[in-house]
C-alpha cells in the first residue's frame, strides 16, 4: 500500500481551508501541539504541515494563477529517513507513511535539509521535528464513519481539489484520476519518488484581449461586425 494525496491544481482556489483544517486537527492530535510563535504579536508564525503558495504560470494573455498546496509527499525513497541519525524518522512499510517519533528526535534539522519539498518544520518549543502524518490518527480510526476516515485537509476542501487513497492500487480512484488527468510528481529529477501527485490545470482558451497588431481593414471589419451585432 502506498497512501498519498492527489491535488487538483485545476480546481484548487487557494482558500487555505486545508492548511487550517490540518492545523486544527493536528494541533490537538498525536503530533500536537503545533507551536505558534507570537500568535497575537506583529509577526505571528508557527509550525504548519501544509502551506499554500500562489504562482502565475505563463505570460499574459495566456497566463493563469495556480494555487499550490504542499505537504509531505511521503516519498518512496524518503531520503529524510535515511539521513536521520537517531532513527526518529521512519517510513511505515505497510502503508508508506513517513513519520517522526518525537521520543527519539534530537532536533538536528538534518531531515529538513534532506527534504526538497519543505515538508518538515522544527517545533522550536518542543525541540523536535514535525511533519504531515497523513492524519494517521483519523484514517485508521474505526470509531469514525467510513467516509470520514480521511485526512482533515481532504475532508474540508470545498472544491474537492484533494483526494486521498492508495496509489499502489491501479484501480483506486486516485490512481485512475492520476492516469486520466496526467498527474505528475514534483522535482522528479532528485529521485525521491514522491507519492503525492499533482493534476495540471485543464486546457483553457486564452482570455481574448485587444489585438494591437490587427490591420486597419480588420479593425474596421471588427467595428462593423460589433455594430451590427448590437
Amino acid at each position: 500500500m502506498r497512501l498519498g494525496l492527489v491535488i487538483d491544481l485545476d480546481t484548487c482556489v487557494g482558500c487555505n481551508a486545508c492548511a487550517v483544517a490540518c492545523k486544527q486537527w493536528n494541533a490537538s492530535g498525536t503530533s500536537g501541539p503545533l507551536s505558534d510563535y507570537a500568535p497575537f504579536g506583529h509577526d505571528p508564525s508557527g509550525v504548519w504541515f501544509n502551506r499554500i503558495r500562489n504562482y502565475e504560470i505563463g505570460d499574459y494573455p495566456s497566463s493563469k494563477t495556480v494555487h499550490f498546496p504542499m505537504s509531505c509527499m511521503h516519498c518512496e525513497d524518503a531520503y529524510c529517513v535515511d539521513v536521520c541519525p537517531t532513527g526518529a524518522s521512519y517510513k511505515r512499510p505497510e502503508d508508506g507513511i513517513v513519520l517522526v517519533d518525537p521520543e527519539k528526535c534530537m532536533g538536528c534539522n538534518y531531515c529538513a535539509w534532506a527534504c526538497p519539498y519543505g515538508a518538515r518544520e522544527l517545533d522550536r518549543e518542543e525541540g523536535v521535528m514535525k511533519k504531515c502524518t497523513l492524519c494517521i490518527d483519523r484514517i485508521y480510526d474505526t470509531a469514525l464513519p467510513k467516509e470520514e476516515r480521511q485526512p482533515a485537509c481532504v475532508l474540508t476542501c470545498p472544491t474537492h481539489a484533494r483526494m486521498f487513497g492508495d496509489l499502489d492500487d491501479p484501480d483506486s480512484e486516485v490512481s485512475q484520476t492520476v492516469a486520466a488527468r496526467g498527474g505528475r510528481a514534483l522535482m522528479p529529477e532528485l529521485g525521491y519518488r514522491p507519492v503525492n501527485q499533482y493534476l495540471p490545470p485543464r486546457e483553457a482558451r486564452a482570455v481574448p484581449a485587444y489585438d494591437k497588431g490587427a490591420s486597419l481593414v480588420d479593425r474596421v471589419k471588427h467595428w462593423v461586425n460589433e455594430s451590427i451585432a448590437r
Binding site: 508564525s45 504562482y55 537517531t86 521520543e103 534530537m106 518544520e121
Partner: protein
C-alpha cells in the same frame, strides 16, 4: 542556508584537530625523514585531541533536543551524521592507546600500528563530516566530490601548519616538513578555488521542475506566509553578491596566502619561528570564514517554492 555558528566552529575546530593528529601520526611514523622528540609528538597530539573535543562539544549546541543526542549512534547504516558520531567516538580509545604507546615507549612496531589506526579513524571522521553535506541532493553546490576533497585538504593543511607551529618552538621543522606544509596549503588553495569557480552560477533544479510547469514561465505571486517560517529561517539565508566576493577573497587571503607566505619566509631563511603561530591563527580565522561561506552560499531547492528561479 543559515550558517549555524556552532556547526561552523565544530567543523573547523574538530577538522583542525583531526588534521593535526593525522600529520603528527604521519610524521612520527618517519614519513618526511624527521627524527622527532617524543615530547613534540605528545604535545602536538594532545593539542589535536583538545581541538577535536572542543569541536565535538560545540556540535551539540545546535541540537534542539540534546537529551536524545545519544541516539545518534544508532543509524550508521544509512546516515552519515550517525557514521560521523560513531567514528568520532571510536577515534578516542585508539588515539589514547597511540598517545600512551608514544609516552611509555612501547616500541616502534606498536607505536606505528596505533599511529596508523588513529590516522585512518581521524581521516574517516573528517570524510564523514563532509559526506553529511555532500550526500544531500537538495543542495547542488554540496552534492559534489569536491566537498569531501576540500574538507580533507583543509584539515590536512591546518594540521601541517599546527604541527610546524609546535615544532617551531622545539627542534624546529625540517626542510621536508616545511615543503610538505607549503604543498598542503597550495593543494588546498587549488581545491577551494575550483569549488568557488565551479559553483558561482546556479546550475541545479529550476522552478519549472519544482512546480511541474516545464513549458511556461513560473512566477511566485504570493508566498503564503506573512512572517518568517522555519523554512525561511533555515533555508532563506542569502549573502549579497558584492559582500560574497569580498568575503571569498578575504577567505582566500587569510586561509591560504598568508600561511603560504609565512612558510615561504621560513624556508627562505628570513622568517622567524614566530611566523608559524601567526600563519596558524590566520588560517584558522580564514577557515572559519570559509566554513561560514560554505553554509551561507548554499542554495537549497526549497527556495524554488519561494520564488527563486534556479538554485
Amino acid at each position: 542556508m543559515h550558517p549555524a555558528l556552532s556547526i561552523v566552529f565544530f567543523t573547523v575546530t574538530a577538522g583542525a584537530g583531526y588534521g593535526l593528529v593525522v600529520v603528527t601520526a604521519l610524521v612520527s611514523a618517519g614519513i618526511g625523514g624527521a627524527q622527532l622528540q617524543n615530547g613534540d609528538i605528545l604535545l602536538s597530539a594532545a593539542a589535536g585531541l583538545v581541538a577535536v573535543t572542543l569541536g565535538l562539544c560545540a556540535s551539540s549546541l545546535h541540537l534542539a533536543n540534546p537529551k536524545n543526542a545519544w541516539r545518534a549512534f544508532s543509524r550508521f547504516r544509512t546516515s552519515w551524521l550517525s557514521r560521523e558520531a560513531v567514528l568520532a567516538v571510536a577515534f578516542y580509545p585508539i588515539a589514547l592507546v597511540w598517545f600512551v604507546s608514544v609516552w611509555l615507549d612501547w616500541g616502534a612496531g606498536v607505536v606505528a600500528v596505533f599511529a596508523f589506526l588513529t590516522m585512518i579513524l581521524a581521516l574517516a571522521t573528517v570524510f564523514s563530516t563532509a559526506m553529511i553535506y555532500a550526500c544531500l541532493r537538495t543542495i547542488p553546490q554540496w552534492h559534489t566530490s569536491l566537498t569531501p576533497a576540500n574538507y580533507i585538504l583543509l584539515s590536512l593543511m591546518i594540521g601541517f601548519l599546527g604541527f610546524s607551529s609546535v615544532l617551531a618552538f622545539g627542534d624546529g621543522a625540517s626542510g621536508a616538513l616545511l615543503w610538505s606544509t607549503l604543498l598542503s596549503v597550495a593543494v588546498a588553495f587549488i581545491g577551494k578555488l575550483i569549488y568557488y569557480l565551479k559553483f558561482s552560477a546556479p546550475s541545479g533544479p529550476s522552478i519549472a521542475t519544482a512546480t511541474g510547469f516545464k513549458h511556461a514561465t513560473v512566477r511566485l505571486l504570493d508566498v503564503g506566509h506573512s512572517a518568517g517560517t522555519f523554512l525561511t529561517d533555515e533555508f532563506g539565508f542569502t549573502v549579497f553578491r558584492g559582500a560574497l566576493m569580498i568575503l571569498r577573497i578575504l577567505t582566500l587571503i587569510l586561509a591560504f596566502v598568508v600561511p603560504a607566505v609565512a612558510v615561504w619566509l621560513v624556508i627562505d631563511g628570513s622568517g622567524l619561528a614566530i611566523v608559524f603561530p601567526i600563519a596558524l591563527v590566520a588560517a584558522y580565522v580564514g577557515l572559519l570564514m570559509e566554513r561560514w561561506l560554505f553554509f551561507a552560499e548554499a542554495r537549497h531547492v526549497v527556495n524554488l517554492y519561494h520564488g527563486t528561479q534556479r538554485v
